[in-house]
Amino acid sequence: MTVRLWFNPLRPKTELQRRTVTGYLFIAPFILGFLLWFLIPALTAIWLTFTDWNLIRAPRFVGVDNITQLGKDPLFLQSLKVTTIFTLFSVPVSLVASFILALLMDTKVRGIGVFRTIYYLPSIVPAVASAVLWAWIFNTDFGLANVALRWLGLPKIQWLQSPDWALPALIVMSLWGLGASMVIYLAGLQGIPDVFYEAAEIDGAGRWAKLWNVTIPLLSPVIFFNLIIGIIGTFQVFTAGYLITDGGPQNSTLFYVLYLYRNAFEFLRMGYSAALAWVLFFVIMALTLFVFKYVGGMVHYEDT
């Protein structure tokens, strides 16, 4: 098939030309938006990376200074560390817990919908309201967290005032939202046809054998999806660190995007924050590719 690329779009002659014109008309808003709000900003970000600019004075070209500065910036390394620790705890715990919950909830028992709702609701609570609520929960003298410790016979913890406990507190808070991945698992579980379980039972598979040989392989794309979404999400945690702890105490909750925000809008170092943004981009890209390469190999896709 030969496609004539160049023709007068106002006077399409063939069926293919007609479809090409209408097709591009339909996706034109996206193409325009992509150019205006994506490509131009991306190019601007490249340019910003090589400049020193505080939004007021004229931008000054500084070469790779912003990039070399990264290695000498202890707060950059601190923010990477904080974000990495947060991800390393929050993502796996949430991934496993929400998977177990989904398995337990994948029954048609009456009243199960109430449980689904209770587990799901926290994940749609607005981030600001959630931050205000959890700031109160982690209040040292009167907060719910220390009430719970008292039930367990444990001493009070200075959650948000202690550099050792502030980040764990925010990790606990993030787990409140695990309902989001739970419902994704549930949707996946309900997509597994019963015949697979029936076949496994005929082969004499017990509960665990069915879990390992049917459920987990068939659900692996969903697990994989939740893993990647989880990593991308935790690398962009902003509101909790900004509103509850303001990055403290002693920068123990200085999340990466919070540090990026501060550089841009508090220190007005647009060039340096653009460099930080590129690092974020490449870190997330690298993690996604890593996950694809080393975990993706274990993912089982149905041939359909």
Binding site: T22, L121, V183, L260
Partner: protein, 306 residues
Amino acid sequence: MSRVDNYPVTQQPVSAIGASSASSRLIANLRNEEWRWSAVTLVVLVVGAFVMALPFLWLLSSSLKLERMIFIFPPQWIPNPVRFQNYVDALTYKPFGTYIANTLWIVLLNEIAIVGSASFCAYGFARIRFPGRDAWFGIVLATMMVPYFVLMIPQFVIFSRLGWTDSYLPLTVPFFFGGGAFNIFLLRQFFRTLPPELADAARIDGCDEFGIYWRIFMPLAKPALITVGIFTFLNGWNDFIGPLLYINSPDKFTVAIGLATFRSIMRTRWDLLMAASTAMILPVLVLFFFAQRYFIQGIVLSGLKG
């Protein structure tokens, strides 16, 4: 795993075939095991649900307490006296009515922009075959992978150059251009589930492509459009970083910014802070209860079908 409802093996009427005492003992064990599993499942779910619900109960309880009753340890779970006045005090101390109106205005514009333009683009991607389509759709998927914070700074630079700061333009105008990659993706998935014969029939009747999109596919896509509309509401209502960057004048604040500011003024008035937070959470919960199935549909459409 725990398909407790099915009892696949145990409910067979084995005795009718003439079961030996050994096999009937096995059946009894199986039955027992099923029962034990259901019990364990129930206990885990109930304890978990209690833990998940506790912050909500804490929020509600704190929001209805007298100021001095807040600072009692261990706390009273049932407020005595119950003080609904907290809600009035909290929502009038700062003009939350204005914030709500502002937020709803932004959300309304976003709804028009996103539902309109995302469905338009999605139709092109789903139902028209033209050279370059798949490449462009690849770009749609690629832009979905790029984190917001990567482009936040250059976008801010561009919007401030355009003189758009301290207005709702940066929070609304971009959505008129495609309505977000994720929404295009979601609606395209839905359009592809509809039978193409519908379009063929209309085409024979002389309907043009826009007519097919508007008169045939849009009415059929109502469930998916409602799903997109709900998530648009949630994103607009919950958005914090957007208004934080672009809105400066207090009379233009959204609920999220209003609550954050309220928090920085009322450091220890947890009763009022909890009342204001409840007020911000409530519309989201109400929406969920009225539109549960659309939430679930959004999840199913977004991730799981190629």
